[in-house]
């Protein structure tokens, strides 16, 4: 009846309960601090429209995760908004385009600082350095729209 035979006996269940408590105690405090601090971003830049991640080639292979076949080529992402969308390809650099094509300013930000800023040309095209490691987001401003992607690691 049980998916896990360890839950049928009292001693194995109690042992696994102890392991579950140990696992909770093993979490580094720095992670707790970072997780709690994330809440400070809740109301930052409320005037920006949050774009929806409509496509991520890194996730397109399937939700199972570990068994996915790595896809070749640069990772492609599409962030969709009501009036302005952003498409990027992440290779050695981040190559992107505002859709519909239009000029604007694009800012790449980490949680601590602005990492890079650039102009999108008349066709909406821009290039940014690829960030290392931590979560970032792209904030794009045009004459008509001000949008941000969600937090993402590129």
């Amino acid at each position: 009846m049980s998916a896990n035979p360890r839950h049928n006996g009292d001693d194995p269940l109690l042992a696994e309960l102890a392991e579950a408590q140990d696992a909770a105690r093993a979490v580094p405090e720095s992670m707790r601090v970072a997780a709690r601090a994330a809440f400070a971003w809740r109301t930052v830049d409320e005037e920006l429209e949050l774009l929806v991640l409509a496509h991520d080639s890194a996730l397109a292979a399937g939700p199972a995760g570990v068994r996915d076949v790595p896809s070749d080529g640069p990772r492609a992402l599409t962030f969709q908004g009501a009036a302005l969308s952003v498409e990027i390809e992440v290779g050695a650099d981040v190559m992107g385009q505002l859709v519909p094509p239009q000029p604007g300013r694009v800012t790449l930000s980490g949680t601590r600082e602005v990492l890079a800023e650039t102009a999108a040309d008349a066709l909406g095209c821009f290039r940014l350095p690829r960030p290392e490691g931590g979560p970032v987001r792209l904030v794009c401003r045009t004459d008509d729209a001000a949008v941000t992607t969600g937090w993402i690691r590129l």
Partner: protein
């Protein structure tokens, strides 16, 4: 300690700006995120990056979580996506053994990862189940799982329960733990980590204004 309804209340309170409610959500599910990063054998700095990303994403999604009880699954799947992408990116840069098509050195064995992920889910369900017990039951089970283990005599002194009734009470507490919604869902195979969903479940057809 919190039950399911409390999770729904916490999500509602956090989305109205209550930092205390957010901290309680973090305290409850942080071990799940950490266990997922351990399952994928991430380095400490990669694990920190994934952890921060998961919680920042949850802050963005708080207002859109239509079913707060799906929160553990959302957290688990989001963490898995981030970890598995890191692992895949790492593999591309690692030398691969042509015989086995596996990365040489430091390779993560998929079966080992899967087993560790299942363990992480089970442990979260047990912690959730523990939170859903009434306080007296929870206290006894916590005393019984301390490291180093306490003697029944010590537990008797701490709880006022006669030594002779600790064994039978332990059995009843464990039965009630099996009967909590969290552990029942686990035993029925409806673990928080059915390998679908995650933040894709929360994708909205139209953009949301924050």
């Amino acid at each position: 300690m919190l039950g399911d309804d409390d999770v729904a209340r916490l999500v509602a309170a956090a989305s109205h700006g209550d930092q205390g409610a957010w901290n309680a959500i973090v305290d409850r599910y942080l071990p799940l995120v950490y266990s997922v990063t351990r399952a994928y054998r991430l380095s400490r700095s990669d694990a920190e990056d994934v952890n921060q990303t998961v919680w920042l994403r949850l802050v963005e999604h708080l207002d859109q979580l239509r079913e707060p009880r799906a929160l553990p699954r959302w957290i688990l799947t989001t963490a898995q996506h981030e970890c598995s992408r890191l692992t895949k990116a790492g593999r591309r840069e690692q030398p691969v053994d042509p015989q086995t098509d596996r990365a040489l050195g430091g390779a993560v064995d998929d079966d080992v990862v899967e087993a560790d992920l299942l363990r992480a889910e089970r442990q979260q369900s047990l912690r959730d189940g523990l939170a859903q017990l009434r306080p007296a039951d929870r206290r006894l089970l916590l005393l019984l799982t301390e490291d180093p283990p306490r003697s029944y005599r010590e537990i008797s002194a701490l709880t006022g329960m006669p030594v002779g009734s600790i064994g039978p009470t332990r059995a009843r507490c464990l039965e009630r733990l099996r009967d909590t919604p969290a552990v029942r869902a686990l035993l029925a195979g409806e673990s928080p980590a059915a390998h679908t969903g995650g933040d894709r479940d929360e994708r909205q057809p139209t953009p949301q204004r924050r």
